[in-house]
Amino acid sequence: MSTVNQTPATQSSTLKDQIREFIMENLAHAKGITSFTDDENLMESGVVDSLGIFRIVSFLEEELHVRVSDEEINAETLQSVNSIEQLVLSKKK
């Protein structure tokens, strides 16, 4: 399966790194995209499509252990690495 030169998320990696790496390895590469910034709108640049959104939600729930309701799945919360980080932080408070 796809091989990617990325350091795996370790204890020392920040939440933002984890989110960025997940999106890069699982969504961006499959769209032929190899770079994006933390505040880039991932829907506009085509990194995230309708199924990608639900892969992010599964990642948040399974890997980061936060519950996301259907209403919270929207363009504001999921548009960028930064906004996803904010969503997770607000849940962990």
Partner: protein, 536 residues
Amino acid sequence: MAYILQQLLTKGAERYPEKAAVWARGRSITYRELNERSNQLAHLLRGRGIQKGDRIGIYFPKCVESVIAMLGIVKAGAVYVPLDPQAPADRVGYIIGNCGCRGLITREDKRRGLDEATLASLEFCVLTDESPKSSNGASLVPWAMLSQFPAADAPKVVLTETDLAYILYTSGSTGRPKGVMLTHQNALTFVEWCAEIFKITSEDRLSNHAPLHFDLSVFDVYNTLEAGATVYLITEDLALFPSKLASFIETQGITVWYSVPSALTLLLLHANLSAERLARLRLILFAGEVFPMKYLQQLAATLPHVELQNLYGPTETNVCTYYKVERDRLASMDKLPIGIACENTEVFAVNDQDEIVTEPGGTGELYVRGPAVTYGYWADHEKTAKMVVPNRFQRNFEEKMYRTGDLVQLAEDGNYYFLGRRDSMIKSRGYRIELGEIESALLSHDAVKEAVAIAIPDDIVSNRIIAVIAPHDGIDLKAAELQQHCGAKIPKYMIPESIEFRISLPKTSTGKVDRVQLTQESIRAAQQTATEAVSQ
């Protein structure tokens, strides 16, 4: 009765001048405005020397100007070519060159993304977002310029229903997309049948979920105009979020919905749909891929008041068969039929003995004849001759029919059932994808020796795409690099989501890559991964 598409708008503008015709991104335009603006655009295009039959591209994200552009271009007697605003510039450039677009209606950021050779080939670009100050050079025409042209009437151009109205590009097996030519008659045959059978009225609010380069949008736009209804263009920011989309359908009071099944499945799974919320919705049409039965049954149960219709047909025929979902039969069905032929269209299956299938249970390739069938592919006589063939079942006069490449079975009740494809075309989220086009993109990378693209069946999107690659000896190639390479050649929905590397690919006894074996291996591996995921 209308024989060219723009007559649908003229009729609407006379009957409902102040009614909203098109809504998008929080903005709407009335029938009068749509009529006047498209008249002005048509005069502008004629002023630029555009003649009957010339091609003009439409290249910007959906908004009310998209519909003005479509109508303005046909009113000038020209042929519009909707271009995917999300496709790589290389592919868009190829299409512009292939059909020889003389002009483009576009947005400055989109125009700037095109390559030099493509820009040089265009005589002019009408920019929907630019003010006169910021445009430079004679070849850039600001949208504001429209107001200088006559609004009351369209230019006088002699057109018949056999003239081309638009060209829709679909995936091509040889690595480049092919342009399906559609006449006014092709479109109107379908639109008039829909108007009759679905009883669209001026009270209806239609959604437009499909992109404009996708033939589903022909119904959304032209059946709206035909009825004097309103069409709500659904943009990416809405389409991506099921919960938001459901609220949109609810608050805008959408009455008629048409999309690929996967969009409906996502709504069903993630949007908390209910009959109370979508009380005004009366009709759901779906097409483009097979609707998985379990989700269709759930949808039918969740929205008991909504009529459900399965439409079938390749772009070359628009829709040619339909099946009205019978709720009382749904529980006992394991597969949904594609149904029976639409009015003014004939379909039949031709078996391996080259006979028309008449007995229930018989299988064969589906053929289509009638006024909905395309002339063929733009500037591709070879492909056209292969797919749009003389009707050998009657020899009294010359007539063409279209071979769909779809294998079907005729059932007891007269319905046809889709069995599969004769070739390597697949569907994913309703998009038609030729695996050959993906392989051609993979093989265009210098390090790739052999490449096979494989479709893995998927519950929600019909198929996911993966690839198996053998690189040239000793080259260390990364999946991400190859995916990036593909991103410059083919649309994102065609890029393999994962790539497996092997030293060499298995071969058949004739020395060809053994596609069947690779496909079986990959599907088995995918099923195993899925089972492991469940048991974890």
